[in-house]
């Protein structure tokens, strides 16, 4: 019995050592870079090209939302080299002290990024993050099924459209809509304003057909509903599949967001990470990614390489006047209010019970 245990143990040890050695012995000559990105947020060809050009292997995995990514990165058990958080999450990660200050001399292609994406509120001194993609939030609607003009969030509260409205199953995006409709900042911490927004969403609940995630895109394309609150990137995909759909940023203002590239402090392949970020800032590469995923690139030289109907499309590339309007906001670090958000959202959804 004892002998057997010993034998099994030593066999196990040998096995583990082989595995560990296989892990160290890189097939690529210049090591690897560990990348953690959103699902469907890159042209898969890009990673292959990067390996071909630099000899650096890309170890790539994906997440579905910022919170999931944060839950995995924050404990530091896994060391990633490049991550793609959105604006408010960058701010949160900076506040938590888990992001590395970037050495921009190692990212020469950074100069391709348009000036309007510098010094944004989540990273005011441009120290930690590089803009990767950006977009706005608005209403996608089916112009065949609406006769009146759509230019305000109010239409999502019109009882005429009962069971024709899709909202995101997300407390942040839904509260943004309600707060903007009320004329408040979407970053408010004022309890009375949040209470008003909550009541507004409860009032809306009977009119909403469904609170959707990714499946909402299909529903709009199949004309299951007339309206959907949507990210511009998703809207681009829907509009290309159903010509009757239209996208509008309501006049009360909305959310303007940027998804970025950052490096966590515990990154182990820092030079490779710089090389990877630099590669993604190259105009031809950025254009490939923008074409593939439908979101908007912050690199003008890349935008120039896109098809005319995309690069001149106001859905993906609204003018600077639109994004710089006072009522266009970015989310800030929601750590202090997220509990309230979640309880509001439960109350809104349980109001049907």
């Amino acid at each position: 019995m004892k002998k057997l245990t010993k034998r099994i143990l030593s066999a196990g040890l040998v096995g583990m050592m082989t595995l560990a050695m296989a892990g160290c012995g890189n097939s690529a000559p210049n090591g690897q870079v560990v990348v953690y990105n959103w699902g469907e947020f890159i042209d898969p060809q890009v990673n292959k090209m990067f390996t071909q050009e630099t000899g650096i292997k890309v170890v790539y995995s994906e997440y579905a939302n910022n919170e999931e990514m944060y839950a995995k990165v924050e404990p530091g058990n896994v060391s990633y080299d490049v991550i793609f958080p959105s604006d408010y999450m960058v701010e949160k990660m900076i506040n938590k002290g888990i992001l590395e200050k970037l050495d921009f001399s190692k990212i020469p292609n950074y100069e391709n990024i348009d000036v309007r994406f510098e010094n944004l509120p989540y990273d005011p001194n441009n120290e930690y993050s590089i803009p990767y993609m950006w977009g706005t939030v608005g209403i996608v609607y089916n112009k065949k099924m609406v006769s009146e003009p759509v230019d305000s969030w109010d239409i999502l509260w019109d009882s005429k459209y009962k069971d024709q409205i899709l909202m995101y199953d997300s407390e942040r995006d839904s509260l943004m809509v309600a707060l903007k409709k009320l004329g408040y900042s979407m970053n408010t911490r004022d309890e009375k304003q949040l209470e008003e927004a909550k009541n507004l969403l409860i009032e809306q609940a009977p009119l909403v057909l469904s609170y959707v995630g990714d499946e909402g895109k299909n529903k709009m394309v199949n004309e299951e509903a007339v309206f959907m609150v949507s990210y511009a990137g998703d809207a681009m995909i829907m509009l290309s599949e159903n010509p009757d759909l239209e996208f509008v940023i309501p006049k009360e203002g909305s959310n303007f967001y940027v998804d970025t590239m950052v490096m966590p402090k515990n990154a182990t392949n820092k030079d490779n990470a710089y090389a990877y970020m630099n590669f993604l800032c190259r105009p031809d590469i950025a254009a490939m990614n923008a074409k593939e995923i439908g979101y908007s690139t912050p690199i003008s030289a890349a935008r120039e390489q896109l098809d005319d109907e995309i690069k001149n499309n106001p859905v993906a590339y609204p003018s600077e006047e639109v994004t710089n309007a006072d009522n266009m906001e970015m989310f800030n670090d929601p750590s202090d209010v997220i509990g309230t958000y979640s309880s509001i959202w439960t109350q809104v959804k349980a109001s049907n019970n």
Binding site: E67, E68, Y211, K219, E224, K349, A350
Partner: protein
């Protein structure tokens, strides 16, 4: 090596992947920043959380009842002696389980949409269309569809194991069909029924996927609240506390059911 050591792999597996996570849930639910507290539990005492729990229990109860009413007669038919294609019917019950339940539920969501395949067929036949999804109806349908096999199989198993001699004896002693069913078949099949109820009620109580896809995200069940705490809010403490409360309810139901039925007899799974 004695026979007991054959169980070690599973015991180790269960220790690492069941016991340790369970202890972590208990820990997270009682400690906030290292301090012992009941705050995660008191937070649950809001009418909207209690309502969501009540709704979960009632929807799970309704779907379990429907499953039972559909499954028992089917199991009786399957167990009858004059049925020739029993294998085919059993295969039809099990066949959908070969495919991932997420995919099946997505498929139903597409079929049942207001503008989906089934309603388009209804409209083409000049029949009124039906709003299947986006409410309790869709959720109950999804639960019954997904968990039905877990009700049929244990009941069929229990029925198949009944000694036919007992039934013949009942007839010989003058009992008619109804009395035989009531006094002999039903009591002897109870372990299967209890197992079926447990196997359907538990997953129905905790589901969050069916609510999301077939309820249109408009029905908030306890499973959705737990999922939200872990994936979006990041409030592990509250999520763990709700999980604990749910587990306690499940345990009470189990204890109640096992007293009702004779779980340790043949035919049951436990």
């Amino acid at each position: 090596m004695n026979k007991k050591s054959l169980a070690y792999p599973y015991v180790i597996w269960a220790g690492i992947f069941i016991i340790v996570p369970l202890l972590l849930i208990v820990y997270f639910s009682f400690f906030v920043d290292g301090q012992f507290t009941f705050q995660n539990y008191t937070k649950f005492m809001e009418d909207y959380y209690i309502k969501a729990m009540g709704k979960s229990i009632s929807l799970a109860f309704i779907s379990t009842t429907i499953c039972l009413l559909l499954a028992y007669p089917l199991a009786m038919v399957l167990n009858g002696k004059d049925i020739s294609n029993r294998g085919v019917i059993l295969l039809l019950i099990i066949l959908p389980m070969w495919m991932n339940s997420l995919l099946r539920t997505y498929a139903w969501a597409n079929l049942l949409e207001n503008n989906g395949v089934i309603n388009n067929v209804l409209a083409a036949l000049n029949l009124p269309t039906v709003k299947f999804l986006y409410g309790d109806g869709g959720v109950i349908f999804g639960m019954v569809y997904n968990f039905f096999p877990f009700m049929v199989l244990p009941i069929y198993n229990a029925l198949a194991k009944i000694d036919k001699g007992l039934i013949e004896a009942a007839y010989d002693l003058g009992a008619n069909d109804i009395t035989t069913f009531r006094k002999v078949i039903l009591p002897l099949s109870m372990p299967g029924v209890v197992t079926g109820i447990i196997m359907v009620f538990m997953p129905a109580l905790t589901t969050f996927l069916i609510t999301r896809l077939l309820g249109g995200g408009k029905v908030m069940l306890i499973g959705n609240i737990i999922e939200e705490q872990f994936t979006r809010t990041g409030d592990l403490g509250f999520g763990s506390a709700v999980s604990m409360i749910l587990m306690i309810i499940v345990l009470i139901t189990l204890a109640f059911m096992s007293r009702k039925g004779t779980l340790d007899e043949e035919g049951g799974l436990f």
